[in-house]
Amino acid sequence: MNSHQSSETSAEGPAPLAQGRQRCDGISRRDFVYLGMLSAFGLSLSDAIRLQAQSNSGRTAKAKACILIWLDGGPSHLDTFDPKPEAPSEIRSQFQSIPTRIPGVHICEHLPRTAAVMHEVALIRSLTHELGNHDTGTRFLLTGHRPTPSLEYPSMGSIVAHEYGFTTPMPPYIAIPSDSAGGDSNAARSGYLPGGFSAFNVGPDFSRLGGLTLPEGVSIARGERRRDILRKMDQFSRQVEEGPATGDRDAYYEQAYRLMGSSKAKDAFDLAAETRENRDRYGPSRVGSGCLMARRLIEAGARFVTVVDTGWDTHQQIFKELPDSRFPGSGKLPSLDRAYSALIADLRDRGLLDSTLVVLMGEFGRTPKINAIGGRDHWPRAGCVCLAGGGVSGGRVIGATNSFGEVPSERPVSPPDLMFTILQLLGIDPSRELRTPTGRPMKLLQEGSFIQELV
């Protein structure tokens, strides 16, 4: 099929970094050649599996995988990684700040374990954009594109799945518990790429991941027989013609069978295989179990694992909700502190940190001024991101906000810059061009440049 080539070959070579920046009117449309009717079908997932089995050699990037801890709802920068103890009381956090392993750098008192691993972490304090809604902000952060009504862009995880391919039985892109970040928007999904590049969702109950084994009473031989019958039945039937949608469905089945066939992959989903000490180290919280699961999945061959931690949309009572686990639906900071610091240390202990990029962020920061009900509202103009491992040099701070934490005072970092950097660290050229289902050429990113200070 023509469409394979059209989707798989980059129309141009890698662009030098200096050219990564784009005019502010965004898209510079290029002429493109109509590729005949097949381009309407795009690239089906099953084709991609076949093609990419061969194309995955030769990556030289240090990072081979990425764990994204997504603080859904937007974490307050002032109450986590960018405290402003000198600011007036209507702005500054009620939390104290404590020193970290980076000399002179302080973070919130409720992150003591994190403070002790900051020598592994590069902290960006100047993330800034202008999209103050959960859905639009999440889309911007996770796709590197401002959302438009006409086209859905693929998320980082889906791009990584697309670029690394399905080379192991482990699905390349996995979400814990699911990819519904930013409310129920499609931000973390596959956008214009086929649906097969969406995340494999672990589901709400980590301990009982259903469906990885044949049902009770069905032997392996019988499972094989069923599969043979199904294969033949689909071949016999000419009632439903194959197209992009049916192709996706077929690919889901193919991937499901690969997963079922690998005991290594299946075992990775079983947290019971971890020692009690290690489970304690990550903590009993959902984010703790999620981070531990993420490490297991990366070890077993997953490429991009998103751990979604909800509850950061603290419009009220922020100083109660964040630290206090007795307060309903809360205790965000202690849980995160334990999970995040354990993940960094565990990856280091296992020799995996250099090849695993760990990203901690949410869709935006929160208003410097504390509101009437003791909370903070959405504030996209300033926020923090922590990066560790995967070729990032830890123990440094990049960028800063002004004295009230309102806007970056130095080195502003945009969502496209961040995504550009993450992709490049993972060995993916952000200027690579794909095609949308209608045949339109589309670069992975239209703007953004590498954050040199990280390496």
């Binding site: 502010c24 309407a40 969702n201 049902p215 039937s237 499901a256």
Partner: protein, 717 residues
């Protein structure tokens, strides 16, 4: 909890900026040129006020313009006055910051937008020389018209030039071809240059959106698939008016239509589409056996429309549309009200009038529950706009809609209809308080129908519920959006694709694929008293609906012209019900009587792991365009290995069938699951598989498992 007030933040930024600009209304040279109609469009064309540049909510590099120039007065103030008028220099116009930046003579992140030699640069310079007059304060663009409005480009290399004329409020006309903005809606079909030259790219239908001076228009573009031949008729005569329009478009674009579907394909499709379930094996046998019956399809359609299943299934369609998502007695009241109207086929305008004006106790007045969708009148206005008027008005919350005609005032006046809805004591009541203010002036706004599409309520009395006026306007016969919106959705529910897509975005700049057909259907719908069943029946009767989904050579690439039937995946509740029907084992839903099917559930909050994994519509936001959370590999694993399916296989029909002969078993299973008898090669393959008698029951289960996991089962084809 998520903050539900979407867009509020970006609106706040807009509201921070106000003030009374001083207009220089006389121009030095006496020219009638106005800032609004002559100068601002230059900047818009150059991209200065695009959303990514100075048109962003926060501006760019300290300079903010209104998005695409929707607020000329404010833009004028910012250009000529802000920061001590440092952007303009009347003595030395060429050194004005405005020109230096725009031409790239000074460092400008946006680069060079206006070449120094260009006529646009000269015009700006002349304007500055004359002291940058605002010109006649009230002169504005009242409408624009693009010509030709229909382009037909028969060869892929063809070009055509669009021309755009602006009608100004003083009655004069201007050729604004060089200043209008052009956007191709699907640039895989046609591209458009900055100057308005359209180039054919690939076969299909699309449109070019044209914008100028806050007004919009669109030109439709058709690129034929094959050179048009005189005889491209399909092998069946037009069954009704739908076919005439669809055939004409197929002929115009050189797409050969596929023939009518066979009886089995038709029976399965129409039973799924009208009742949300599969035909039973005996129904398939009967229908296929009636060979000499010329009107059997029409009889079948009428019979299906008269069933309880039809009522259940179409209630679900409407409940999905209305986002009926609560729990408890009040939700039951709401659901029963809706179902009652579907059962009696109440005229749709009446249903919506009841809903829009509903007030009273939530458990007694079912439709009052609609008003629980949101508390903020602006959020409600967006729901009402999307659900009943097919319009995405949210953009106009903060600025003039860039692709539609709604202004910020239009938006907030529309929202004002919902300002006085009170939610106290378990009911919906009219309150005396509650206003929607203009975000810039802060003045309370009186309710007004969207845009210029209707008149203001005469008696703005405190006694009357403004929603009564709204309901009358929405459902009046000359409302341009209401009937089109529901007819377009009915078409989509039957044919898998709306005549306008997305179905909640009926902009003038997003024209239908078949404009005349849509108008004909809408007129027919109104003439028959907003009768949903009548229109569904008309669609089902058409040859267009009854075409096979098999492509023929030359029409596989068509996705818009209905040359062959679209494949529709079985929606989640229908899929779950179909598995239950085929296996003969019902699903059980908590607090519903046995035998309740998934399409009958009133609330998407009804616990069901099955439906969650399959990815049901939660009715929190529209499921019309956004994919739901379920599906993918998780779904495949569930269907391959799920305990629910396995137990259905073990206890259901497999046990009943095992005494039959293998060929009879295969036939029965195919009829049940796929609605057709097996082909000879299928029959012989599976009959021989079932031969070993000692393993018969398990083999039947395995064959049935494969049928339920098969590609054919998962699609309505």
């Amino acid at each position: 909890m998520k903050c539900s007030s979407k867009l509020l933040w970006s609106c706040l930024v807009v509201t921070l900026i106000s003030g009374t600009p001083r207009l220089r209304s006389q121009s030095a040279s006496g020219s009638s040129e106005s800032f609004r109609t002559s100068i601002l469009p230059l900047l818009t064309k150059a991209g200065c006020n695009s959303g990514a540049c100075h048109g962003a909510a926060t501006g760019q590099a300290g300079f903010k313009l209104s998005l695409l120039g929707y607020d000329p007065v404010e833009d004028y103030e910012r250009i000529t006055r802000e920061l001590g008028a440092r952007r303009v220099d009347f003595e030395h116009p060429e050194t004005s910051l405005l020109l230096m930046k725009a031409s790239g003579s000074l460092d400008h992140e946006g680069g060079s937008r206006l070449k120094r030699q260009s006529p646009e640069f000269q015009r700006l310079k002349n304007w500055l020389t004359r002291g940058a007059p605002f010109g006649p304060a009230n002169l504005e663009v009242s409408s624009i018209q693009v010509g030709p409005s229909n382009l037909f480009l028969p060869a892929l290399t063809n070009h055509a030039q669009l021309n755009v004329t602006a009608q100004l409020s003083d009655g004069s006309k201007q050729d604004v071809t060089s200043l209008a903005l052009y956007t191709a809606n699907d640039d895989a079909v046609a591209e458009v240059s900055k100057g308005g030259q359209v180039r054919a790219v690939g076969p299909g239908l699309t449109s070019i959106m044209v914008r100028y001076g806050g007004q919009v228009d669109a030109a439709r573009v058709a690129i034929p698939f094959q050179p048009t031949k005189a005889s491209n008729r399909s092998d069946f005569p037009a069954r009704n008016v739908i076919d005439e329009h669809v055939q004409a478009e197929l002929e115009r674009l050189g797409v050969p239509p596929s023939p009518l579907s066979g009886d089995a394909e038709f029976l399965r499709r129409v039973t799924l589409d009208l009742t949300g379930r599969l035909p039973t094996a005996s129904r398939v046998r009967e229908f296929l056996a009636e060979t000499n019956h010329p009107t059997k399809r029409e009889l079948l359609i009428d019979q299906l429309i008269g069933t309880e299943d039809f009522v259940n299934y179409w209630t679900m369609h409407l409940a999905d549309l209305l986002l009926l998502n609560g729990t408890g007695d009040n939700t039951a009241a709401y659901f029963n009200w809706l179902r009652g109207h579907v059962a009696t086929n109440t005229p749709f305008d009446q249903v919506v009038r009841e809903l829009i004006t509903a007030q009273g106790n939530l458990t007694q007045v079912g439709p009052a529950n609609f008003w629980l969708l949101a508390a903020d009148p602006r959020d409600l206005s967006e729901h009402v706009g999307r659900i009943f008027l097919g319009s995405q008005i949210a953009c106009a919350r903060c600025h003039t809609h860039p692709a539609d005609r709604w202004t910020q005032e239009d938006y907030h006046r529309f929202a004002a209809y919902f300002a006085r809805i009170g939610r106290e004591a378990g009911g919906i009541h009219l309150t005396q308080r509650g206003v929607v203010e203009h975000p810039k002036t802060g003045k309370p706004l009186s309710p007004k129908p969207l845009g210029s599409l209707g008149t203001t309520p005469d008696n703005a009395s405190q006694e009357q519920d403004p929603r009564i006026h709204l309901a009358a306007w929405m459902t009046s016969a000359d409302n341009p959006l209401f009937a089109r919106t529901i007819v377009n959705r009915l078409w989509k529910w039957m044919l898998g694709r709306g005549l306008v897509e997305p179905v909640d975005d009926l902009r003038p700049t997003n024209p239908p694929t078949h404009p005349v057909l849509l108008e004909v259907l809408v007129a027919d719908f109104k003439r028959h008293g907003f009768n949903l069943r009548h229109t569904v029946r008309t669609i089902a009767f058409s040859g267009t609906y009854q075409r096979t989904s098999h492509t023929t050579s030359g029409n596989a690439a068509d996705t818009q012209l209905y040359s062959h039937a679209h494949l529709k995946p079985l929606v989640v509740p229908v899929f779950a019900d179909a598995v239950a029907q085929v296996t003969g084992v019902d699903n059980v839903y908590q607090s519903y009587p046995p035998g309740t099917r998934a399409v009958q559930l009133m609330s998407p909050a009804t616990p069901s792991t099955e439906l969650d994994v399959l990815g049901r519509c939660l009715r929190k936001r529209s499921c019309e365009t956004v994919r739901t959370a379920g599906g993918g590999v998780t779904l495949a694993l569930h269907l391959i290995n799920g305990a629910n399916l396995q137990s259905k296989l073990q206890t259901g029909v497999a046990l009943e069938l095992r005494e039959l002969s293998p060929p009879r078993i295969v036939e029965e299973l195919y009829l049940r699951a796929l609605g057709r008898p097996p082909e000879p090669h299928e029959l012989s393959e599976w009959a021989s598989l079932l031969q070993p008698a000692n393993d018969r029951t398990e083999l039947i289960q395995d064959l049935l498992w494969a049928l339920l996991n098969s590609r054919e089962f998962a699609w309505n084809h």
